[in-house]
């Protein structure tokens, strides 16, 4: 590890690897620092991503893909279920252990230096500019310098807080999550199943994402208000006992999903936050892989521009924020408004929506039609739904 780089990236998730890859491709020196002993492990994720969303960055490799998803089944509180086939889009359930690892290898092969066992504990700040990081590398304290630091350190973003950015998430916007990767569960191989309602997962949903061969990610996210009264584990265990008493749970994983609106200003002089660190998760689905990759990629491009212009000011880096909002941040704000309405629906209302959608011809049913039905109480949101789901 050198003492100086053009760019330092903190965090080896999809956001960090994309950022480092992009900077390395542009020919600048960059190091990627990951606190854990492994890139891509533990996997704190349901591993679902849209095919098109993934293809905008890379051609998927077979080894990344556990299963191909062609539709979803939504299950209402009274267990009325509605099947929706994806018309154009297909989805994947990934093997993120392999996928995240490969992304960091792409970055490394382009010239990025990747270090694991590197816990970043603080920032070097001089004259109001972030100038590098303080870390424990293999347990030894060290300081390294750069004109740009990219904080891709996930939901709790130490980096953001050290820079004075408000990263705390309100309880109602925070999902408390738990997932079992379970074997001996007989589920359809190409359908994601999602359960909603206060009995299944208040303020969130419970998912079954199949990974083939009677194996699946079965997880839950409930909002912080609900988890005050009963833990995510209690809900998920009840579900498992009722539905899969013979499942073998091979992995248990906890995780939080921040689902507020995107941060308005995830930047400081010499710093950009990307992915979960900047609250760039789809607030309705909790999907954050593609937004992390996109924001990581954009941050890497803007970092290269900043180096070329020798301008690391917050003002210059605001280009990053503008592009993120244009490409998906504005949509996330719309999705947040939709989420607010959906989370207020009672179980009876959710059951009613399921029955209504079931009446739509299966060939004409789409996620867009579900959301349009779901926001009936706030017709002003129909336009938001149309904007978001135009392509579906």
């Amino acid at each position: 590890m050198k003492n100086n780089y053009d760019v330092i990236v903190v965090g080896g998730g999809p956001g960090g690897s994309m950022a480092a890859w992009e900077v390395a491709k542009a020919g600048y020196s960059v190091c990627l620092l990951e606190k854990d002993r492994d890139i891509g492990y533990p996997v704190r994720c349901g591993e679902a991503i849209g095919e098109a969303a993934l293809r905008q960055f890379v051609d998927p490799k077979d080894s990344w893909i556990a299963s191909e998803i062609t539709g979803t089944t939504l299950v209402a509180p009274d267990n009325t279920s509605v099947d929706i086939d994806f018309a154009k889009e297909t989805g994947y359930i990934l093997n993120r252990r392999i996928f995240d690892y490969d992304l960091s290898r792409y970055a490394a092969n382009a010239g990025a230096e990747v270090y694991t066992k590197s816990y970043v504990k603080g920032l070097i700040i001089e004259d109001d500019f972030i100038k590098g990081v303080k870390l424990d590398y293999l347990g030894e304290p060290k300081e390294i310098r750069a004109n740009i630091v990219i904080g891709a350190d996930g939901l709790a973003s130490r980096i953001g807080r050290a820079a004075g950015i408000r990263t705390q998430v309100r309880m109602k916007d925070m999902e408390s999550g738990l997932q079992y990767s379970a074997s001996n569960v007989d589920v359809p191989i190409n359908k994601m199943i999602m359960y909603v309602g206060s009995n299944h997962a208040p303020g969130g949903y419970l998912w079954i994402f199949p990974k083939g061969n009677k194996f699946a990610n079965i997880g839950i996210g409930i909002d912080g208000k609900a988890s005050q009264h009963k833990s995510a584990k209690a809900y998920l265990d009840e579900f498992m006992d009722a539905n899969f008493p013979n499942a073998a749970i091979l992995t248990t994983m906890c995780g939080g999903v921040p689902c507020p609106t995107p941060m308005k200003s995830p930047i400081k002089n010499g710093l950009m936050l990307v992915g979960d660190a900047a609250h760039l998760i789809n607030p309705v689905t909790g999907g954050g892989i593609a937004p992390a990759m996109k924001s990581g990629m954009i941050s890497g491009q803007i970092a290269s521009e900043a180096i070329k212009n020798n301008d690391y000011s917050e003002q210059f880096l605001s280009k990053y924020v503008k592009r993120v909002f244009k490409e998906f941040g504005n949509n996330h704000e719309r999705l947040y408004r939709i989420k607010e309405v959906i989370h207020k629906l009672t179980d009876d209302e959710l059951n009613g929506i399921a029955i209504k959608v079931k009446k739509i011809d299966p060939l004409k049913r789409s996620l867009g039609s579900v959301f349009k039905t779901a926001v009936y109480k706030k017709p002003s949101l129909i336009l938001d739904v149309v904007r978001i789901f135009a392509g579906f």
């Binding site: 066992k117 807080r161 988890s227 939080g256």
Partner: protein, 59 residues
């Protein structure tokens, strides 16, 4: 005072995300609460998916 109940913690950092004074430190396989900074708001207790944290003040 917040007590870390046993060794079940999964080091997922969900609790840090809601902690107002940012007084929880999670590393690869350790969790520490900086007691002097803790304001006993209990949010970390509520968010933990597997109930690792407990408020042990007498109320």
């Amino acid at each position: 005072m917040i007590t870390i109940k046993d060794n079940r913690c999964d080091f997922c950092a969900a609790c840090i995300t809601v902690c107002p004074p940012d007084c929880i430190e999670v590393r690869e396989s350790s969790i520490k609460i900086i007691e002097e900074e803790c304001i006993d708001c209990d949010l970390c207790v509520y968010i933990c998916p597997i109930d690792v944290l407990e408020q042990t003040n007498e109320k």
